[in-house]
C-alpha cells in the first residue's frame, strides 16, 4: 500500500514531466537512426547497430531521467514531508526505483517497432531478440539504480547527473580497455565490466552469471541509496 502510493506519485511526476518526454524522443531518434543504419547500409536483419551503442547512449539518457528522483525532493524540501511520514526509507527508494523501471519499460515497448520491422523483412533469431531485451532491461535497471544513488547524495540535479554518469562510466570503461591490459587481468576486467555481461545477452547467451551480476549491482546501489537517504546530510 505504502509502496504503491510512492509508485503512483512517482509515475505522475515522470509521465507529466516534459523532460522525460524530451529524453524519450531523443532516445528513440538515436536508436532509430542506428537501427536504420545497420538495416539499410549493411543489409542485416539485426538490431546490433542499435544495441551496440545502447550502453553509451543510456549512460546519458538514464542519469537525465533519474537525476531528479531524490535531489529534487531535497531541493524542494519535500523530503521533510516524505521522511516524517510513517514509511521506511527502503520503501521510498524501492517505490522510486519501480516507477523508473515502469517508465523505462514503457520506452522499451516503443523500441519493439525495430524487431517488428525485422520480422517483416527477414527471419531474425527470436531467441536473440528476447535475450537482447532481457539485456536491455537489466542494463537499464542497473543504470537506474546507479542514477538513484547519485541523486540520493545531493540536492542538485546537475551534480546528480554528473555523478551518475561518472559511476556508470566506471563500470562501463573496463570492457573497452580489456585488450590493452595484461592477459592475466583480462578475465577480471571482463567480469567487472557491464559491457561484457550485456554482450553475452546480446549474443543470445542467457547465463546465470550475467543475471546475477546485474541483480547484485542493483541491490548494491539501492542499498547505498537507502543509507544516503537516511543520513539526510543536511
Amino acid at each position: 500500500m505504502k509502496l504503491r502510493a510512492i509508485l503512483k506519485k512517482e509515475l505522475k511526476h515522470y509521465f507529466f514531466s516534459p523532460l522525460a518526454y524530451i529524453v524519450t524522443v531523443i532516445f528513440l531518434l538515436i536508436t532509430g537512426w542506428f537501427f536504420a543504419n545497420s538495416l539499410f547500409l549493411l543489409k542485416e536483419a539485426e538490431m546490433r547497430g542499435m544495441l551496440d551503442i545502447l550502453p553509451i547512449l543510456l549512460m546519458f539518457v538514464i542519469p537525465a531521467i533519474t537525476m531528479r528522483s531524490i535531489a529534487e525532493e531535497r531541493k524542494m524540501d519535500t523530503v521533510q514531508i516524505l521522511l516524517t511520514l510513517p514509511i521506511r526509507e527502503g520503501q521510498i527508494i524501492l517505490g522510486k526505483y519501480m516507477a523508473l523501471l515502469v517508465f523505462y519499460s514503457t520506452v522499451l515497448i516503443f523500441t519493439l517497432f525495430y524487431p517488428l520491422v525485422l520480422m517483416l523483412l527477414g527471419r531474425p533469431d527470436t531467441g536473440v531478440i528476447l535475450s537482447s531485451y532481457l539485456g536491455m532491461f537489466l542494463l537499464g535497471a542497473t543504470y537506474i539504480s546507479i542514477g538513484i544513488f547519485a541523486s540520493s547524495l545531493t540536492s542538485s540535479q546537475v551534480i546528480a547527473f554528473i555523478t551518475g554518469f561518472a559511476i556508470i562510466f566506471l563500470i562501463f570503461i573496463p570492457g573497452k580497455l580489456e585488450n590493452i591490459m595484461p592477459v592475466k587481468m583480462q578475465p577480471l576486467i571482463e567480469g567487472a565490466s557491464v559491457v561484457s555481461h550485456f554482450e553475452n545477452l546480446l549474443r543470445g547467451v542467457v547465463s546465470s552469471t550475467d543475471i546475477v551480476y546485474f541483480v547484485m549491482l542493483n541491490i548494491l546501489f539501492l542499498t547505498l541509496s537507502i543509507y544516503a537517504l537516511r543520513e539526510k546530510g543536511k
Binding site: K2, I6, K9, K12, T84, L85, I87
Partner: protein
Amino acid sequence: MISVRSLIKDYGEIRAVNGISFEIKSGEVVGFLGPNGAGKTTTMQIITGYLRPTSGEVLIQDRDISENHISIKNSIGYLPENTPLYEDLNVYDFLDFVASVRELNGKKKDSIKRASELCGISDVLDRPIGELSKGYRQRVGLAQAIIHDPPILILDEPTTGLDPIQIMEIRELIKRLGEEKTVLLSTHILPEVEQTCNRVIVIHKGVIVADSDIDELREAISGGVVRVEYRGSINPDEFRRFGKVSDITEKDGNISLKIVPAEGSVDIREAVYRFCKDSDLVLLELYREKRSLEEIFRELTLEVREVEA
C-alpha cells in the same frame, strides 16, 4: 504529550540547539518563539523524527522517538517551514498520496474531504499545487498535516509570507485546531503567539530563555513598573521610597514620572495611592505599564547577548 530532554544538535562545528528541555502537556497550544537561526526549526525537525539529535531524547506520548519511528509518526502532523509541496501534483492527488502512505485506506475519501473542508480548500482540489496562491498552499500544507487527525500538530512558521488577511485566516484555523489538539507552533512574529497560544517558549541561540504562560511572562518581566501623574507641591524625589524614579516631566504644573519598584514585580499602586492621599496630592493618573511581548522578547534576547559579551 511531548517531552524534550537536554536536546543537543550540532551541525559540524556549529551547535544549533544547546541542551533544550521542555514538556508540553495534552491540549496546550505552545508558541515557539525566537529570532531566525535560534534553533526552532532544528528542534521541530528532531521532534518530528526528520533529524536525529546529537544527544538528548524526545518522548512523544511516553515513547522515545529513537526507538519506534513509524507508529510515533502517526500521532504527529507536521507542517515544515516554507510549506514544501509537490508542485506538479494537483491538490487531491497530493492529499491522496499522504493519506495512502498513512494507510487510511477505507477512510481515505472521508479524511481528504474532512481535512479539505476544515482548511477551506475544497474548491481547489483539482488544481495543480504549483498554481496556487501562498495562502492556499499554506492551507494545503495544513490539510496534509491534519489528514490523519493526529493528536499533535507541529507547525513551523505557518504564517510566514502571507498577506494580513491570509494571516488572520490561518491563525483562526490554528486556533480552531488548537481546541482539540496539542499544538507546537514556531514563529518570529510576536502578535501571533499572543493571539493563538496560551504558552510561550522563547528560544535564542539554541537555549531556552523563557518558558511560561503568556500572561505570566508579561507580568514577570514588566516588573511592576508604575506610571504616576499628579499635581501638587511635593518633590518628585519623594517617590524614591517606592523604587527607582525616572522619566520626570512637568507640564502646566502636572508632574509625571515612572517608578521601577526595588523588589521586582511587587504591586506598588496601592502604596503610591495612599502616599498621594496622605500628602494631599491630586492624583491624575496611576497605572502599571503593560509592555508588548515585542519589548519583552527584545529584552530577553538582548540579555543573552549581553551575557555572552
